[in-house]
């Protein structure tokens, strides 16, 4: 298949998904029960105040009209105003520094887990059935069973309180004070360490288990036998296997990519990391529907774009697609 043909078929799917998601995002929030005005004002107040709020946000109009307005606004990149941060646009909240903090946390954690998980999986899978493999696999399955928020609590307790080597909470210790940029960066990284460790521990088993099983199965493949019979040194055979394995590493990373923006709800909440995950949690507590909707749309956009990037990566990694064999 030619690259542009391939790309066009994937792009068509991207637009379809985003369209469906936008429609879903509108109706889910309008049709499910829940009164947004309750979070903004005391229900004992004058009902006229409630009507005033509904009018301000356009919630008194008929549903089809609201929907049309919503679509027009979406095209203009307008997601409305937050219910709880009065006067702040949703786009400012969702696309601001919070997104930066979360992407920093998650992209570093995903990168660490991809490398550690793939390397450990390759080693254990190549030595499948040995004591080393059993030990590693058992331990990683144990990690796989830990709830991420509990990992976060234990790390916070141990590193923050018992040893006291890392800051317990927050994104930085400097709030609004002028500070040397290097000191600021150092402080930011010190705050980043514990949440990053948490998310990495949470993600490593997913890579490990998949890669280990793939490599263990590849060990019985004819081509590996052939390479062994040919007398190729072990590292050269492993290099061949790595080529197969990298496809899986890419596809697991693509599966994890939605986590890039919202994967750290628990970790960010426990460590007070000022990111999208915590924004999502706070918006739920405050029934801030426009922000929830914004986070939802952002998540979907990331999911779709990540899948597209992964599909493009497959095209170049996996020669079978070019020949049109399919996976």
């Amino acid at each position: 298949m030619r690259f542009f043909e391939y790309l066009a078929s994937k792009l068509a799917y991207v637009f379809l998904t985003i369209l469906v998601a936008c429609v879903a995002a509108f109706f889910v929030f309008r049709l499910l029960p829940g009164d947004p005005t309750l979070s903004m004002l005391d229900p004992r107040l004058d009902p006229e105040a409630r009507r005033e709020i509904l009018r301000t946000f356009g919630l008194d109009r008929p549903l089809p009209e609201q929907f049309a307005l919503y679509l027009v606004n979406l095209l203009r990149g307008e997601l409305g105003y937050s219910f709880s941060y009065i006067g702040t646009k949703v786009t400012e909240l969702v696309l601001g520094p919070r997104l930066f903090n979360t992407v920093v946390l998650m992209s570093l954690s995903i990168a660490i887990s991809a490398v550690v998980g793939t390397v450990l999986g390759l080693v254990a899978g190549w030595r499948a059935g040995t004591a080393l493999d059993r030990l590693l696999t058992g331990f990683l399955y144990l990690l796989f069973s830990l709830p991420v928020f509990w990992i976060a609590l234990v790390i916070q307790f141990y590193l923050g309180y018992v040893l006291g080597v890392l800051p317990i909470s927050g994104t930085t210790s400097y709030h609004g004070t002028e500070v040397d940029p290097w000191l600021y960066l150092l402080d930011y990284l010190r705050h980043l360490a514990a949440p990053m460790l948490t998310v990495s521990i949470f993600l490593i088993p997913g890579y490990y288990i998949y890669i280990r099983n793939t490599v263990a199965a590849l060990g019985n493949e004819d081509f590996v036998f052939a390479l062994k019979a040919y007398g190729l040194p072990e590292w050269r055979i492993l290099r061949n296997i790595l080529r197969h394995v990298l496809i899986h590493t890419v596809s697991i990373t693509a599966n994890y990519s939605p986590l890039l923006v919202t994967g750290a709800v628990f970790t960010e909440t426990v460590f007070g990391w000022n990111g999208i995950g915590r924004l999502l949690y706070e918006s739920i507590l405050k029934s801030d529907y426009p922000v929830l909707q914004g986070v939802f749309l952002l998540t979907i956009t990331v999911v779709v774009v990540a899948n597209l990037v992964a599909d493009i990566a497959y095209y170049f990694i996996d020669p079978r697609i070019k020949r049109g064999v399919g996976l």
Binding site: Y141, F144, L146, P147, V148, W150, V154
Partner: protein
């Protein structure tokens, strides 16, 4: 014949380890309830008392007995997990069969929904749905089912497509069986064992997701689950006062259950692929 199949399943190392882990957590929970025959939310001592013979797992910041909350919480977590998995698998199997049997537009629509939901982080969907619905045990189960069915549907649909062209379905068709008969008599019974591994792993995700929602304070306020115990521990800043007993046992309990369920589902998967 039947006993030998059960025997072989129990002899699988993963399945026996998994069953032992789940049985262990259940046993701890039942013994815990027997040792603490009182309302788990009642005050049983001074705040944050370390484990002693008065309170075997100590007390939390309000002086409530941690063992009493932990043992009830385990049962609640398991109950929610199992019921959610049953609802999830009913929906998942049904949609998988419908998609596989009817094909065409129905199949297309179901499978696009499956792909969409599988690529979305289930936590985000669950959080948003919980935010819009009122937090109660049944709403949590509903949310778990909404986020959990696609995995089962995909497995069942694949199997149904494979089976539809097999001899016995052809034979049933040739004998004049209608779609309803084939679905009820042939497809539903075969789909259950095929989906069993996914069903067990959906209990696993349900237990984890419920614990997570309760940990964030979005669980049913009138019941205590394992997540709720951790929610109380965090809210009370138990960590800052070194009260490890308020959160270490509850986390280990979740881990034991989840580890057991993971092992069982791996074992079933291996057993069914080896057959």
């Amino acid at each position: 014949m039947r006993t030998s199949a059960v025997y072989r399943i129990l002899r699988d190392r993963n399945i026996s380890i998994g069953l032992a882990a789940v049985a262990f957590s259940l046993a701890v929970s039942l013994v815990g309830i027997a040792l603490t025959p009182f309302d788990p939310l009642s005050i049983r001592g001074p705040a944050l008392r370390p484990p002693s013979d008065r309170n075997l797992l100590g007390t939390d910041d309000l002086g409530r007995d941690v063992l009493a909350m932990l043992s009830r919480g385990t049962l609640v977590s398991l109950f929610i997990g199992v019921v959610a998995a049953l609802v999830t698998s009913a929906v998942g199997i049904l949609l998988g069969i419908v998609a596989g049997v009817y094909g065409g537009y129905v199949d297309f629509a179901v499978m696009r929904a499956v792909e969409f939901l599988l690529s979305m982080p289930s936590l985000v969907l669950a959080l948003i749905l919980v935010a819009l619905l009122r937090p109660s045990v049944w709403n949590i189960i509903l949310v778990l089912a909404v986020t959990g069915w696609p995995g089962i549907t995909r497995v069942v649909r694949g199997y149904v497509l494979q089976v539809m062209s097999s001899g016995y379905i052809e034979a049933a068709k040739a004998l004049g069986a209608d779609a309803k008969y084939i679905v009820l008599r042939h497809l539903v019974p075969v789909s259950f064992p095929v989906a069993l591994a996914s069903i067990v792993s959906s209990i696993r995700s349900a237990v984890l997701l419920e614990a997570g929602l309760s940990f964030l304070g979005l669980g049913d306020p009138s019941t205590v689950s394992l997540g709720t115990v951790l929610f109380y521990a965090r809210r009370a800043a138990a960590l800052a006062s070194g009260a490890w007993w308020t959160f270490i046992p509850a986390g280990l309990m979740i881990a034991t259950i989840v580890f057991g369920l993971t092992m069982i589902s791996i074992g079933i998967e291996r057993y069914s692929s080896a057959r």
